[in-house]
Protein backbone atom coordinates (compact mmCIF):
# COMPACT_ATOMS: atom_id res chain seq x y z
CA UNK A 1 0.00 0.00 0.00
CA UNK A 2 1.28 3.46 -0.86
CA UNK A 3 0.14 6.42 1.19
CA UNK A 4 -0.66 9.88 -0.19
CA UNK A 5 2.44 12.03 -0.19
CA UNK A 6 4.79 9.13 -0.99
CA UNK A 7 7.32 10.15 -3.64
CA UNK A 8 8.72 7.62 -6.08
CA UNK A 9 11.30 7.72 -8.86
CA UNK A 10 11.45 5.93 -12.18
CA UNK A 11 14.11 3.26 -12.70
CA UNK A 12 14.37 4.07 -16.40
CA UNK A 13 14.17 7.87 -16.76
CA UNK A 14 14.05 11.19 -14.88
CA UNK A 15 10.38 10.84 -13.96
CA UNK A 16 9.22 11.32 -10.37
CA UNK A 17 5.71 11.07 -9.00
CA UNK A 18 3.84 11.72 -5.78
CA UNK A 19 0.91 9.54 -4.69
CA UNK A 20 -2.27 11.64 -4.36
CA UNK A 21 -4.88 8.98 -3.78
CA UNK A 22 -4.03 5.96 -1.67
CA UNK A 23 -3.03 2.94 -3.73
CA UNK A 24 -3.84 -0.56 -2.47
CA UNK A 25 -1.10 -2.25 -4.46
CA UNK A 26 2.58 -1.34 -4.89
CA UNK A 27 2.49 -2.33 -8.55
CA UNK A 28 3.28 1.08 -10.00
CA UNK A 29 5.72 1.06 -12.91
CA UNK A 30 7.35 3.57 -15.21
CA UNK A 31 8.78 2.42 -18.54
CA UNK A 32 8.00 -1.14 -17.52
CA UNK A 33 9.90 -1.16 -14.22
CA UNK A 34 8.74 -0.68 -10.63
CA UNK A 35 9.03 2.83 -9.25
CA UNK A 36 10.79 3.23 -5.90
CA UNK A 37 12.24 5.84 -3.58
CA UNK A 38 15.77 5.08 -4.80
CA UNK A 39 15.51 2.61 -7.69
CA UNK A 40 18.47 1.00 -9.38
CA UNK A 41 18.67 2.46 -12.89
CA UNK A 42 17.93 0.18 -15.81
CA UNK A 43 16.77 0.23 -19.46
CA UNK A 44 13.11 0.96 -20.13
CA UNK A 45 10.82 -1.32 -22.17
CA UNK A 46 10.60 0.26 -25.63
CA UNK A 47 6.81 -0.04 -25.80
CA UNK A 48 6.28 1.63 -22.42
CA UNK A 49 8.03 4.89 -23.22
CA UNK A 50 5.30 7.39 -24.12
CA UNK A 51 6.46 9.88 -21.52
CA UNK A 52 4.91 11.60 -18.52
CA UNK A 53 4.66 15.33 -17.94
CA UNK A 54 5.33 17.46 -14.87
CA UNK A 55 2.22 18.91 -13.23
CA UNK A 56 -0.18 16.38 -14.82
CA UNK A 57 -2.29 14.11 -12.68
CA UNK A 58 -2.55 10.48 -13.77
CA UNK A 59 -5.35 8.02 -12.95
CA UNK A 60 -6.49 4.54 -13.95
CA UNK A 61 -9.93 3.98 -15.52
CA UNK A 62 -11.56 3.25 -12.14
CA UNK A 63 -9.72 6.18 -10.51
CA UNK A 64 -8.61 3.90 -7.68
CA UNK A 65 -5.16 5.45 -7.95
CA UNK A 66 -4.09 9.00 -8.63
CA UNK A 67 -0.53 10.28 -8.88
CA UNK A 68 0.97 13.68 -9.62
CA UNK A 69 3.96 13.78 -11.93
CA UNK A 70 6.47 16.07 -10.19
CA UNK A 71 9.28 15.61 -12.73
CA UNK A 72 8.86 14.78 -16.42
CA UNK A 73 10.34 11.63 -17.91
CA UNK A 74 10.36 9.46 -21.04
CA UNK A 75 8.69 6.44 -19.44
CA UNK A 76 4.93 6.04 -19.15
CA UNK A 77 3.10 5.12 -15.94
CA UNK A 78 1.24 1.86 -15.28
CA UNK A 79 -0.70 0.63 -12.27
CA UNK A 80 -1.32 -3.13 -12.03
CA UNK A 81 -0.43 -3.40 -15.71
CA UNK A 82 -2.89 -0.75 -16.86
CA UNK A 83 -1.50 2.43 -18.45
CA UNK A 84 -2.51 5.55 -16.52
CA UNK A 85 -4.02 8.48 -18.32
CA UNK A 86 -4.07 12.19 -17.54
CA UNK A 87 -6.99 13.36 -15.46
CA UNK A 88 -9.04 16.28 -16.70
CA UNK A 89 -9.32 18.89 -13.99
CA UNK A 90 -11.73 21.79 -14.05
CA UNK A 91 -9.93 25.07 -14.61
CA UNK A 92 -10.81 27.57 -11.89
CA UNK A 93 -10.23 31.31 -11.92
CA UNK A 94 -7.35 32.45 -9.75
CA UNK A 95 -8.63 33.32 -6.28
CA UNK A 96 -5.42 34.32 -4.50
Amino acid sequence: MMKPGTRLKSAVCDAEIMIIKIAESDDLTCGGHLMAEAPEKTEGDADSMHGCLIGKRYVNAEETIEVLCVKSGDGSLYYEGQELMTKDTKKLPSSD
Binding site: I54, P93, S95, D96
Partner: protein, 498 residues
Protein backbone atom coordinates in the same frame (compact mmCIF):
# COMPACT_ATOMS: atom_id res chain seq x y z
CA UNK B 1 3.79 15.70 0.78
CA UNK B 2 5.38 19.06 1.46
CA UNK B 3 4.46 22.58 0.31
CA UNK B 4 8.07 23.04 -0.82
CA UNK B 5 7.20 20.63 -3.65
CA UNK B 6 5.21 23.49 -5.24
CA UNK B 7 8.37 25.60 -5.55
CA UNK B 8 10.52 22.61 -6.49
CA UNK B 9 8.24 21.84 -9.46
CA UNK B 10 8.16 25.47 -10.59
CA UNK B 11 11.97 25.67 -10.41
CA UNK B 12 12.21 22.37 -12.31
CA UNK B 13 9.81 23.41 -15.10
CA UNK B 14 10.78 27.07 -15.51
CA UNK B 15 13.98 27.81 -13.58
CA UNK B 16 14.78 31.08 -15.33
CA UNK B 17 11.30 32.56 -15.42
CA UNK B 18 10.79 35.67 -13.27
CA UNK B 19 9.12 34.49 -10.04
CA UNK B 20 9.04 37.68 -8.00
CA UNK B 21 9.58 41.42 -8.21
CA UNK B 22 10.13 43.48 -5.10
CA UNK B 23 11.21 47.10 -5.05
CA UNK B 24 12.31 46.86 -8.69
CA UNK B 25 14.49 43.78 -8.15
CA UNK B 26 13.68 40.49 -9.89
CA UNK B 27 14.13 36.91 -8.68
CA UNK B 28 13.79 33.73 -10.77
CA UNK B 29 12.13 30.50 -9.62
CA UNK B 30 15.51 28.83 -9.34
CA UNK B 31 16.83 31.70 -7.17
CA UNK B 32 13.85 31.29 -4.83
CA UNK B 33 14.33 27.53 -4.71
CA UNK B 34 18.07 27.70 -4.02
CA UNK B 35 17.42 30.41 -1.44
CA UNK B 36 14.87 28.19 0.31
CA UNK B 37 17.35 25.28 0.43
CA UNK B 38 20.01 27.48 2.05
CA UNK B 39 17.40 28.91 4.42
CA UNK B 40 16.40 25.36 5.44
CA UNK B 41 20.03 24.64 6.24
CA UNK B 42 20.24 27.71 8.51
CA UNK B 43 16.91 26.91 10.20
CA UNK B 44 18.06 23.36 10.98
CA UNK B 45 21.40 24.56 12.32
CA UNK B 46 19.61 27.00 14.66
CA UNK B 47 17.65 24.13 16.30
CA UNK B 48 14.53 26.20 16.75
CA UNK B 49 10.87 25.24 17.17
CA UNK B 50 9.49 27.85 14.75
CA UNK B 51 10.51 30.04 11.87
CA UNK B 52 8.74 33.36 12.41
CA UNK B 53 8.49 36.34 10.10
CA UNK B 54 7.33 39.68 11.45
CA UNK B 55 7.82 42.13 8.62
CA UNK B 56 6.21 43.52 5.50
CA UNK B 57 6.23 41.49 2.27
CA UNK B 58 9.61 40.91 0.70
CA UNK B 59 11.39 38.01 -1.05
CA UNK B 60 12.16 36.73 2.45
CA UNK B 61 8.49 35.66 2.69
CA UNK B 62 8.42 32.86 0.07
CA UNK B 63 12.00 31.83 0.90
CA UNK B 64 11.34 31.54 4.66
CA UNK B 65 7.99 29.77 4.08
CA UNK B 66 9.46 27.18 1.71
CA UNK B 67 12.76 26.87 3.61
CA UNK B 68 10.89 26.18 6.85
CA UNK B 69 8.85 23.51 5.03
CA UNK B 70 12.00 21.78 3.75
CA UNK B 71 13.48 21.87 7.26
CA UNK B 72 10.28 20.49 8.81
CA UNK B 73 9.93 23.54 11.08
CA UNK B 74 6.51 25.25 11.33
CA UNK B 75 6.36 28.74 9.81
CA UNK B 76 4.61 31.35 11.95
CA UNK B 77 4.09 34.77 10.36
CA UNK B 78 3.29 37.51 12.87
CA UNK B 79 1.50 40.82 12.50
CA UNK B 80 4.15 43.55 12.54
CA UNK B 81 1.60 46.10 13.75
CA UNK B 82 1.05 44.53 17.17
CA UNK B 83 1.79 46.52 20.29
CA UNK B 84 4.55 45.32 22.62
CA UNK B 85 1.97 44.05 25.14
CA UNK B 86 0.18 42.01 22.46
CA UNK B 87 3.39 40.69 20.95
CA UNK B 88 5.09 39.29 24.05
CA UNK B 89 2.64 36.43 24.75
CA UNK B 90 2.74 35.42 21.07
CA UNK B 91 6.55 35.26 21.06
CA UNK B 92 6.40 33.21 24.27
CA UNK B 93 4.26 30.68 22.43
CA UNK B 94 6.75 30.13 19.58
CA UNK B 95 9.96 30.04 21.61
CA UNK B 96 12.68 29.41 20.58
CA UNK B 97 12.30 30.78 17.07
CA UNK B 98 14.32 31.91 14.09
CA UNK B 99 12.76 35.36 13.79
CA UNK B 100 13.02 37.49 10.67
CA UNK B 101 11.99 41.02 11.55
CA UNK B 102 12.72 44.69 11.08
CA UNK B 103 11.48 45.43 14.61
CA UNK B 104 13.54 45.75 17.77
CA UNK B 105 12.76 42.77 20.02
CA UNK B 106 14.23 42.00 23.44
CA UNK B 107 16.96 39.36 23.39
CA UNK B 108 15.81 35.81 24.10
CA UNK B 109 17.81 32.69 24.75
CA UNK B 110 18.12 30.25 21.87
CA UNK B 111 16.66 32.69 19.35
CA UNK B 112 18.11 33.87 16.07
CA UNK B 113 16.88 37.35 15.13
CA UNK B 114 17.66 38.81 11.71
CA UNK B 115 16.29 41.56 9.51
CA UNK B 116 14.79 40.57 6.16
CA UNK B 117 17.87 42.10 4.46
CA UNK B 118 20.35 40.12 6.59
CA UNK B 119 18.37 36.96 5.96
CA UNK B 120 18.32 37.56 2.20
CA UNK B 121 22.08 38.18 2.18
CA UNK B 122 22.84 34.79 3.68
CA UNK B 123 20.36 32.79 1.60
CA UNK B 124 21.03 34.32 -1.81
CA UNK B 125 24.70 33.30 -1.97
CA UNK B 126 26.90 30.35 -1.16
CA UNK B 127 26.93 26.61 -1.72
CA UNK B 128 23.75 24.64 -1.94
CA UNK B 129 23.50 22.38 1.11
CA UNK B 130 22.96 18.66 0.84
CA UNK B 131 19.49 18.51 2.21
CA UNK B 132 17.02 15.71 2.85
CA UNK B 133 13.52 17.11 3.13
CA UNK B 134 11.39 16.48 6.09
CA UNK B 135 8.48 14.78 4.31
CA UNK B 136 5.56 14.14 6.66
CA UNK B 137 2.15 15.17 5.22
CA UNK B 138 0.71 15.57 8.71
CA UNK B 139 3.48 17.87 9.96
CA UNK B 140 2.48 21.47 10.67
CA UNK B 141 3.51 23.72 7.77
CA UNK B 142 2.05 27.02 8.94
CA UNK B 143 0.85 28.30 12.29
CA UNK B 144 -1.22 31.46 11.98
CA UNK B 145 -2.41 33.54 14.88
CA UNK B 146 -6.01 34.57 14.36
CA UNK B 147 -7.92 36.99 16.53
CA UNK B 148 -10.40 34.80 18.37
CA UNK B 149 -13.80 35.74 19.71
CA UNK B 150 -12.50 36.08 23.24
CA UNK B 151 -9.70 38.37 22.11
CA UNK B 152 -6.94 35.89 23.01
CA UNK B 153 -5.28 35.03 19.66
CA UNK B 154 -5.78 31.42 18.60
CA UNK B 155 -3.02 29.60 16.77
CA UNK B 156 -4.57 27.89 13.74
CA UNK B 157 -2.53 24.94 12.48
CA UNK B 158 -2.28 24.18 8.79
CA UNK B 159 -0.59 20.91 7.94
CA UNK B 160 1.22 20.19 4.67
CA UNK B 161 -1.62 17.91 3.51
CA UNK B 162 -4.19 20.71 3.93
CA UNK B 163 -2.21 23.32 2.03
CA UNK B 164 -1.02 20.97 -0.72
CA UNK B 165 -4.60 19.67 -1.18
CA UNK B 166 -5.83 23.23 -1.53
CA UNK B 167 -3.26 24.16 -4.16
CA UNK B 168 -3.54 20.92 -6.17
CA UNK B 169 -7.32 21.19 -6.07
CA UNK B 170 -7.54 24.81 -7.20
CA UNK B 171 -4.47 25.72 -9.28
CA UNK B 172 -3.28 24.28 -12.60
CA UNK B 173 0.45 23.65 -12.57
CA UNK B 174 2.22 26.20 -14.81
CA UNK B 175 -1.21 27.50 -15.72
CA UNK B 176 0.16 31.03 -16.13
CA UNK B 177 1.73 32.31 -19.31
CA UNK B 178 5.16 33.92 -19.21
CA UNK B 179 3.56 37.39 -19.56
CA UNK B 180 1.35 37.00 -16.48
CA UNK B 181 2.03 38.91 -13.25
CA UNK B 182 0.05 38.97 -10.01
CA UNK B 183 0.08 42.03 -7.77
CA UNK B 184 0.12 40.89 -4.12
CA UNK B 185 -0.72 43.59 -1.58
CA UNK B 186 -2.14 41.52 1.28
CA UNK B 187 0.10 41.28 4.36
CA UNK B 188 2.20 38.14 4.85
CA UNK B 189 0.61 37.29 8.22
CA UNK B 190 -2.82 36.85 6.61
CA UNK B 191 -3.88 33.49 5.13
CA UNK B 192 -4.43 35.30 1.80
CA UNK B 193 -0.76 36.32 1.90
CA UNK B 194 0.31 32.68 2.36
CA UNK B 195 -2.00 31.31 -0.32
CA UNK B 196 -0.97 34.04 -2.79
CA UNK B 197 2.64 32.86 -2.52
CA UNK B 198 1.77 29.18 -2.96
CA UNK B 199 -0.85 29.58 -5.73
CA UNK B 200 1.20 31.89 -7.88
CA UNK B 201 4.35 29.80 -7.48
CA UNK B 202 2.49 26.61 -8.53
CA UNK B 203 0.96 28.44 -11.50
CA UNK B 204 4.51 29.70 -12.28
CA UNK B 205 3.08 33.21 -12.22
CA UNK B 206 5.32 36.20 -11.57
CA UNK B 207 4.50 37.82 -8.20
CA UNK B 208 4.81 41.60 -7.86
CA UNK B 209 4.90 42.55 -4.18
CA UNK B 210 3.42 45.76 -2.81
CA UNK B 211 4.43 45.83 0.88
CA UNK B 212 2.26 48.73 2.06
CA UNK B 213 -1.00 49.09 0.24
CA UNK B 214 -1.68 52.47 -1.28
CA UNK B 215 -4.18 52.88 -4.12
CA UNK B 216 -1.96 55.26 -6.15
CA UNK B 217 1.07 53.00 -5.91
CA UNK B 218 -1.10 49.96 -6.64
CA UNK B 219 -2.28 51.58 -9.88
CA UNK B 220 1.22 52.73 -10.81
CA UNK B 221 2.68 49.23 -10.21
CA UNK B 222 -0.09 47.70 -12.33
CA UNK B 223 1.03 49.83 -15.25
CA UNK B 224 4.80 49.55 -14.67
CA UNK B 225 4.93 45.79 -14.21
CA UNK B 226 2.15 44.98 -16.73
CA UNK B 227 0.19 43.29 -13.98
CA UNK B 228 -2.44 40.84 -15.23
CA UNK B 229 -4.13 39.76 -11.97
CA UNK B 230 -4.48 40.85 -8.35
CA UNK B 231 -6.10 39.90 -5.07
CA UNK B 232 -7.61 42.65 -2.93
CA UNK B 233 -9.73 42.92 0.18
CA UNK B 234 -12.94 44.96 -0.25
CA UNK B 235 -11.44 48.07 1.38
CA UNK B 236 -8.56 48.05 -1.09
CA UNK B 237 -10.92 47.73 -4.05
CA UNK B 238 -13.05 50.61 -2.89
CA UNK B 239 -9.97 52.83 -2.49
CA UNK B 240 -8.59 51.77 -5.88
CA UNK B 241 -11.91 52.63 -7.54
CA UNK B 242 -12.01 55.98 -5.76
CA UNK B 243 -8.47 56.76 -6.82
CA UNK B 244 -9.17 55.70 -10.39
CA UNK B 245 -12.20 57.97 -10.56
CA UNK B 246 -10.31 60.95 -9.15
CA UNK B 247 -7.02 60.61 -10.99
CA UNK B 248 -6.47 61.57 -14.56
CA UNK B 249 -5.10 58.07 -15.13
CA UNK B 250 -5.90 56.79 -18.59
CA UNK B 251 -7.63 53.43 -18.54
CA UNK B 252 -4.96 52.16 -20.99
CA UNK B 253 -2.55 52.21 -18.08
CA UNK B 254 -4.50 49.25 -16.74
CA UNK B 255 -4.74 47.59 -20.16
CA UNK B 256 -2.77 44.55 -18.99
CA UNK B 257 -5.08 43.84 -16.03
CA UNK B 258 -7.29 40.83 -16.81
CA UNK B 259 -8.57 39.67 -13.45
CA UNK B 260 -9.17 40.77 -9.88
CA UNK B 261 -10.04 38.37 -7.07
CA UNK B 262 -11.46 39.79 -3.88
CA UNK B 263 -12.23 38.41 -0.44
CA UNK B 264 -11.36 38.71 3.22
CA UNK B 265 -14.56 40.49 4.19
CA UNK B 266 -18.01 41.31 2.95
CA UNK B 267 -17.95 43.29 -0.30
CA UNK B 268 -20.57 46.04 -0.39
CA UNK B 269 -22.65 45.51 -3.55
CA UNK B 270 -22.34 49.19 -4.67
CA UNK B 271 -18.53 48.87 -4.64
CA UNK B 272 -18.43 45.78 -6.84
CA UNK B 273 -21.08 47.27 -9.18
CA UNK B 274 -18.92 50.37 -9.53
CA UNK B 275 -15.82 48.29 -10.16
CA UNK B 276 -17.54 46.19 -12.83
CA UNK B 277 -18.77 49.33 -14.59
CA UNK B 278 -15.41 51.09 -14.40
CA UNK B 279 -13.30 48.08 -15.47
CA UNK B 280 -15.45 46.23 -18.01
CA UNK B 281 -12.47 44.30 -19.39
CA UNK B 282 -11.54 42.79 -16.01
CA UNK B 283 -12.75 39.38 -14.79
CA UNK B 284 -13.88 39.58 -11.17
CA UNK B 285 -13.85 36.59 -8.79
CA UNK B 286 -15.16 36.65 -5.25
CA UNK B 287 -13.36 34.23 -2.96
CA UNK B 288 -14.60 33.23 0.49
CA UNK B 289 -12.43 31.31 2.89
CA UNK B 290 -10.97 31.22 6.38
CA UNK B 291 -7.56 30.69 7.88
CA UNK B 292 -8.74 27.30 9.19
CA UNK B 293 -9.76 26.18 5.68
CA UNK B 294 -6.38 26.95 4.00
CA UNK B 295 -7.94 29.97 2.26
CA UNK B 296 -10.63 29.82 -0.46
CA UNK B 297 -13.57 27.42 -0.11
CA UNK B 298 -16.15 29.08 -2.38
CA UNK B 299 -15.88 31.14 -5.57
CA UNK B 300 -18.18 33.49 -7.43
CA UNK B 301 -16.56 33.36 -10.86
CA UNK B 302 -16.42 36.02 -13.62
CA UNK B 303 -19.35 34.48 -15.54
CA UNK B 304 -21.49 34.63 -12.38
CA UNK B 305 -20.63 38.33 -12.04
CA UNK B 306 -21.58 39.06 -15.66
CA UNK B 307 -24.80 37.05 -15.42
CA UNK B 308 -25.76 38.93 -12.26
CA UNK B 309 -25.10 42.30 -13.90
CA UNK B 310 -27.25 41.48 -16.92
CA UNK B 311 -30.33 40.94 -14.75
CA UNK B 312 -31.94 43.83 -12.95
CA UNK B 313 -33.91 41.68 -10.55
CA UNK B 314 -34.34 38.13 -9.28
CA UNK B 315 -32.09 35.36 -7.89
CA UNK B 316 -29.33 35.64 -10.53
CA UNK B 317 -28.97 39.38 -10.01
CA UNK B 318 -28.83 38.85 -6.24
CA UNK B 319 -25.73 36.69 -6.68
CA UNK B 320 -23.54 39.77 -6.87
CA UNK B 321 -23.95 39.70 -3.09
CA UNK B 322 -23.03 35.99 -2.91
CA UNK B 323 -19.65 34.35 -2.32
CA UNK B 324 -20.41 31.71 -4.94
CA UNK B 325 -20.19 27.94 -4.96
CA UNK B 326 -17.79 25.51 -3.25
CA UNK B 327 -14.52 24.36 -4.86
CA UNK B 328 -14.80 20.83 -6.37
CA UNK B 329 -13.34 19.07 -3.29
CA UNK B 330 -15.23 21.18 -0.73
CA UNK B 331 -18.68 20.52 0.77
CA UNK B 332 -20.85 23.13 2.48
CA UNK B 333 -23.77 22.64 4.87
CA UNK B 334 -25.97 25.15 6.68
CA UNK B 335 -27.06 23.99 10.14
CA UNK B 336 -29.37 25.45 12.74
CA UNK B 337 -28.41 25.80 16.39
CA UNK B 338 -29.57 22.25 17.10
CA UNK B 339 -27.35 20.86 14.34
CA UNK B 340 -30.12 20.12 11.81
CA UNK B 341 -29.15 20.67 8.16
CA UNK B 342 -31.15 23.55 6.69
CA UNK B 343 -32.76 23.55 3.23
CA UNK B 344 -31.90 26.27 0.67
CA UNK B 345 -32.78 29.87 1.59
CA UNK B 346 -32.83 29.16 5.32
CA UNK B 347 -30.14 30.76 7.44
CA UNK B 348 -27.86 29.03 9.90
CA UNK B 349 -24.22 28.45 10.65
CA UNK B 350 -21.95 27.52 7.74
CA UNK B 351 -20.17 24.16 8.07
CA UNK B 352 -17.44 23.06 5.68
CA UNK B 353 -15.63 19.79 4.95
CA UNK B 354 -12.80 18.82 2.60
CA UNK B 355 -9.14 17.80 2.41
CA UNK B 356 -7.96 21.43 2.76
CA UNK B 357 -9.95 22.02 5.95
CA UNK B 358 -7.82 21.92 9.08
CA UNK B 359 -10.17 23.25 11.76
CA UNK B 360 -7.43 22.78 14.30
CA UNK B 361 -5.84 25.03 16.89
CA UNK B 362 -2.82 24.31 19.05
CA UNK B 363 -3.64 20.87 20.36
CA UNK B 364 -7.37 21.04 19.74
CA UNK B 365 -9.45 20.10 16.70
CA UNK B 366 -12.93 21.59 16.40
CA UNK B 367 -13.98 19.27 13.56
CA UNK B 368 -16.97 17.08 14.37
CA UNK B 369 -16.83 13.28 14.07
CA UNK B 370 -17.68 13.41 10.38
CA UNK B 371 -14.95 15.98 9.68
CA UNK B 372 -17.14 19.10 9.44
CA UNK B 373 -15.74 22.46 10.53
CA UNK B 374 -18.08 25.04 12.11
CA UNK B 375 -17.01 28.34 10.54
CA UNK B 376 -18.90 30.53 13.08
CA UNK B 377 -20.08 32.46 10.00
CA UNK B 378 -23.79 32.67 9.39
CA UNK B 379 -25.41 32.38 5.98
CA UNK B 380 -27.63 30.46 3.57
CA UNK B 381 -27.43 28.87 0.12
CA UNK B 382 -29.83 29.57 -2.75
CA UNK B 383 -31.54 26.91 -4.87
CA UNK B 384 -28.43 26.53 -7.07
CA UNK B 385 -25.99 26.21 -4.18
CA UNK B 386 -24.69 29.80 -4.16
CA UNK B 387 -23.62 30.80 -0.66
CA UNK B 388 -24.66 34.08 0.94
CA UNK B 389 -23.02 35.37 4.13
CA UNK B 390 -25.13 37.18 6.65
CA UNK B 391 -22.45 38.03 9.21
CA UNK B 392 -20.43 36.32 11.86
CA UNK B 393 -22.17 33.74 13.97
CA UNK B 394 -20.25 35.35 16.77
CA UNK B 395 -19.66 39.06 16.90
CA UNK B 396 -16.21 39.65 15.53
CA UNK B 397 -16.03 42.93 13.65
CA UNK B 398 -14.42 42.53 10.24
CA UNK B 399 -13.04 45.93 9.37
CA UNK B 400 -11.16 46.15 6.07
CA UNK B 401 -10.44 42.40 6.16
CA UNK B 402 -9.07 42.61 9.70
CA UNK B 403 -10.88 40.67 12.40
CA UNK B 404 -11.45 42.74 15.51
CA UNK B 405 -12.82 41.25 18.67
CA UNK B 406 -15.28 43.58 20.44
CA UNK B 407 -13.99 42.15 23.71
CA UNK B 408 -10.57 43.62 23.07
CA UNK B 409 -11.98 47.17 23.02
CA UNK B 410 -14.55 46.54 25.74
CA UNK B 411 -11.97 45.02 28.08
CA UNK B 412 -9.81 48.12 27.79
CA UNK B 413 -12.67 50.55 28.38
CA UNK B 414 -14.05 48.56 31.27
CA UNK B 415 -10.82 49.52 33.01
CA UNK B 416 -11.63 53.21 32.56
CA UNK B 417 -12.72 54.67 35.87
CA UNK B 418 -15.62 56.64 34.44
CA UNK B 419 -17.07 53.87 32.26
CA UNK B 420 -19.89 51.86 33.76
CA UNK B 421 -20.67 49.67 30.75
CA UNK B 422 -19.62 49.48 27.12
CA UNK B 423 -20.39 47.57 23.92
CA UNK B 424 -18.41 47.60 20.68
CA UNK B 425 -20.25 46.45 17.58
CA UNK B 426 -19.63 46.35 13.85
CA UNK B 427 -21.88 48.40 11.63
CA UNK B 428 -21.94 48.20 7.81
CA UNK B 429 -19.58 50.59 6.05
CA UNK B 430 -19.05 50.97 2.34
CA UNK B 431 -15.39 51.76 2.76
CA UNK B 432 -14.39 49.16 5.37
CA UNK B 433 -17.07 46.48 5.07
CA UNK B 434 -17.71 47.01 8.74
CA UNK B 435 -16.68 49.80 11.03
CA UNK B 436 -16.62 50.04 14.83
CA UNK B 437 -19.39 51.71 16.80
CA UNK B 438 -19.26 52.13 20.55
CA UNK B 439 -22.13 52.45 23.02
CA UNK B 440 -20.94 53.76 26.38
CA UNK B 441 -22.70 54.07 29.73
CA UNK B 442 -21.04 56.70 31.92
CA UNK B 443 -20.84 56.36 35.70
CA UNK B 444 -23.00 58.81 37.57
CA UNK B 445 -21.31 62.17 38.10
CA UNK B 446 -18.46 61.37 35.68
CA UNK B 447 -17.60 63.00 32.37
CA UNK B 448 -16.01 61.30 29.37
CA UNK B 449 -15.40 62.82 25.97
CA UNK B 450 -15.47 61.06 22.61
CA UNK B 451 -11.97 62.31 21.87
CA UNK B 452 -10.71 61.02 25.21
CA UNK B 453 -12.02 57.52 24.50
CA UNK B 454 -10.58 57.50 20.99
CA UNK B 455 -7.18 58.60 22.25
CA UNK B 456 -7.21 55.90 24.94
CA UNK B 457 -7.96 53.17 22.38
CA UNK B 458 -5.36 54.50 19.96
CA UNK B 459 -2.72 54.44 22.70
CA UNK B 460 -3.42 50.99 24.08
CA UNK B 461 -4.61 49.07 21.03
CA UNK B 462 -4.24 50.08 17.41
CA UNK B 463 -5.64 52.83 15.22
CA UNK B 464 -7.86 50.25 13.46
CA UNK B 465 -9.63 49.73 16.83
CA UNK B 466 -10.68 53.37 17.13
CA UNK B 467 -14.47 53.62 16.74
CA UNK B 468 -16.01 55.74 13.99
CA UNK B 469 -19.15 56.32 16.03
CA UNK B 470 -19.71 56.73 19.76
CA UNK B 471 -23.09 56.99 21.51
CA UNK B 472 -23.54 57.74 25.19
CA UNK B 473 -26.52 55.83 26.53
CA UNK B 474 -28.25 55.30 29.87
CA UNK B 475 -28.04 51.50 29.74
CA UNK B 476 -27.22 48.56 27.43
CA UNK B 477 -29.80 45.94 26.42
CA UNK B 478 -29.41 42.50 28.03
CA UNK B 479 -31.56 39.39 27.83
CA UNK B 480 -32.78 37.54 30.91
CA UNK B 481 -29.65 35.39 31.10
CA UNK B 482 -27.43 38.44 31.13
CA UNK B 483 -26.29 38.16 27.52
CA UNK B 484 -25.69 41.46 25.79
CA UNK B 485 -28.06 41.89 22.85
CA UNK B 486 -25.57 43.17 20.31
CA UNK B 487 -28.08 43.17 17.54
CA UNK B 488 -30.06 45.84 19.34
CA UNK B 489 -26.93 47.90 19.90
CA UNK B 490 -26.13 47.64 16.21
CA UNK B 491 -29.58 48.93 15.33
CA UNK B 492 -28.96 52.13 17.28
CA UNK B 493 -26.22 52.96 14.80
CA UNK B 494 -27.84 51.55 11.68
CA UNK B 495 -29.55 54.79 10.69
CA UNK B 496 -26.35 56.78 10.62
CA UNK B 497 -24.17 54.08 9.07
CA UNK B 498 -22.21 55.23 6.07
Amino acid sequence: MNIALLLQMAAEACPDRCALTHDGRHYTFSELYNGAERAAHHFLAAEVKFVALMDVSSPAVPIALMGAAMAGVPYAPINYRLSEAQLKPLLDRISPAYLITGEEVPERQGWVVQSSEEFMNIVLAGENPDLTWHDDPSAVAVQLFTSGTTGEPKAALLRHEHLVSYILGSVEFMGAGEDEAALVSVPPYHIAGISAVMSNIYACRHIVQLPNFDPEIWLALCAEESVTSAFVVPTMLSRIIESLQQSAMESEALASLRSIAYGGGKMPVPVIENALALLPGVNFTNAYGLTETSSTITLLDPDDHRAALEQSDGPISARLGSVGRPLPAVEIEIRDEGGAVMPPLQSGEIYVRGPQVSGEYEGRSVLDDAGWFPTRDAGYVDEEGYLFLSGRADDVIVRGGENISPGEIEDLLHQHGAVSDVAAVGVPSEEWGETIALAVVTKAGQIITEDGLRELIRQHLRSSRVPEMIHFVSELPYNETGKLLRREVRQWFATEAI
